[in-house]
Symmetry: C2
Subunit: 359 residues, 2 copies
């Protein structure tokens, strides 16, 4: 196998962790689990089998300060700033153009920046298995998480035949990508079998991916080539800005994966959590004897199965069950655990009321 | 009637309004309802029929700063500081010694500093009725609140015969004072009739009260006379400190009212609330269409029958029913409405852990 690149997509502006996640410091920069931010944990996870100089991060300019703060180990030129978010396909295409200059036959692992993965050794072996397939079969490989319940919050991938034979980490040909299903459909998927959760992890040879972009998104491909021609030039930023703002925003799932034929799936059996809400953060944390979790100074009286986070000061909770309480500076969230999805409505309301001090 | 004095007892260190109430700023100094503090509202209530120069306030030295801040209208010498809290009898006795120098035949109205009374005209008429009885009958008069439910949080007063005849404000001879009952006993009181809640409002002629102290608490009486002898002298504070620390702490109910014969009760039909908990604050506030109340910046989503207070910043509540959320600086309380009595346990724990920054 040639060189192994890692691309960490860190441009998300997730609002589900409000009030901790803010416009200038979204989820991936927060130390939601442990001391490191989710981005730092992601970098660490890859650094055991990828060199720092081969780890790229794509993010937005508004996050430049916190990104540079958190990534002193990476070369500055590996931090790529999109002038504006355009979903995953242009983002990955842009990074692939950087890697191609270095080595078009290199393998690139694309990873979200904000997921929790605790079994690092199994993760590494899974990714390296995927890289081997990507290299040998000139395919695009995705890592599919074995579903444990009929989740409606993830996209699913339907596999066709298994291509592995007796290996610990199973490998499949992919039949199709499907969008987030409703609960009934998700239950059918689980019953039917052969379905995996889309982890957002993709592995491919740079040249193979760019060929797919050329085939399925030729306009974008032409634009990315124009941008690539200016990499390292003083004019780069201006060119990127002009061209990138005009490209069509589209996900890699819609733009490539649903059309391409040479798609494979490697089964991911490592502990995986996309930390999509405070509820999932609660579920991930170790609990005390009352089922409570959290961090920061808190007094919980006659309170069970709750998550309490305080950045400073003190949070006291009395007589409640299954709540999330988050204190970030002078902004406080108190939410029923099964309502944490509604936090985005709070953020929407604050945006509508232009209360930027809380965003 | 001779002169009318008012004594406002403001020495309480109530912990039930934590985290808003702090050691240096207990409940009576908080603007729990409206813009004025409860103490300021109490002063205003009396100032329509008492001169500022005749309003005394007894409090603790630790509250001197906030007390002086909130009472610029009162002469400084009317602010009396107990070296240490000794319950209501020594407190009232001390103030009576000040008033006696001015006019022993004056009538003194003793009032808590932290109750909510909204019908001020009726309050005034009730107090003046009580003052008239105190003056004419040389008795100690208490104002009894007509019970509306079998409350277990108040002391009760059992009346004997009615002494009024056709007046709007009824007047009674008092049979006895009883302690806070359990719910069964309280229900019996209501069924039986003739019981009133003890409002903590007492009205008497200064000389009559001091005679009662002399009769039922002669040791205290002698001590108070020694203190009185030094009023206005440079040695006053040291004398007060030495003597007062040694007096027995006892309530006026136990020390006088349960023994004296010449006790009367005037019925208080004005709106009265002792604001004993965040729950009673919630009940007192006007509600929006979802049954929510409070003040400060808040977003309430799918939340009903709750009280949310924020001193600054933003409190967001999602999907909860019947909760109290109070943000005071960096201290946050989240409490089920029917558990607000348990807040004192939080305060006790903080005291035990010596976390004075939150007290």
């Amino acid at each position: 196998m040639e060189k192994l690149y890692c691309l960490i997509m860190a441009g998300g502006s997730g609002t589900r962790f409000w009030p901790r996640s803010k416009t200038a410091k979204p989820k991936q920069y927060l130390n939601i689990i442990g001391d490191d931010s989710l981005l730092q944990s992601t970098i660490k996870r890859f650094s055991t089998f990828t060199k720092y100089e081969d780890i790229y991060i794509v993010s937005g300019k508004s996050q430049a300060t916190v990104l540079e703060e958190q990534t002193p180990m990476l070369p500055k030129q590996n931090l790529i700033y999109e002038p504006v978010g355009k979903n995953t396909l242009p983002c990955i295409g842009l990074a692939a153009m950087f890697a191609e200059i270095d080595n078009p036959e290199g393998i690139m692992v694309v990873s979200p920046s904000d997921h929790l993965i605790t079994n690092e050794e199994l993760f590494k072996n899974t990714v390296l298995t995927a890289a081997k397939i990507a290299d040998e079969k000139n395919g695009i490989v995705t890592i599919g998480i074995t579903p444990t319940y009929p989740a409606t919050g993830y996209g699913y991938i339907k596999t066709a035949g298994e291509i592995s034979a007796g290996e610990t980490i199973r490998q499949f040909k992919v039949e199709r990508f499907v969008e987030k299903p409703d609960e009934k459909t998700a239950s059918e998927y689980l019953e039917q079998g052969g379905f995996f959760w889309n982890s957002g992890l993709f592995i491919f040879k740079v040249s193979v991916f760019l060929d797919a972009v050329k085939q399925f998104a030729p306009g974008l491909y032409a634009d990315l080539r124009k941008i690539q021609a200016e990499i390292g030039q003083p004019s780069f930023e201006a060119t990127l800005d002009t061209i990138y703002r005009a490209v069509q925003g589209i996900s890699v799932d819609y733009g490539i994966m649903e059309h391409a034929q040479n798609i494979y799936l490697v089964e991911g059996n490592f502990d995986w959590n996309d930390l999509g809400s405070w509820e999932s953060v609660y579920l991930t944390h170790p609990k005390d004897e009352n089922g409570n979790a959290g961090s920061g100074e808190a007094i919980l009286l006659d309170t069970q199965n709750s998550y309490v986070y305080s950045d400073s000061g003190l949070v006291a909770v009395v007589g409640l069950d299954e709540v999330v309480v988050v204190k970030d500076g002078d902004t406080i969230l108190v939410c029923r655990r099964d309502k944490t999805e509604d936090i985005k409505k709070i953020v929407e309301q604050l945006k509508a009321e232009k209360k930027d001090q809380y965003l």
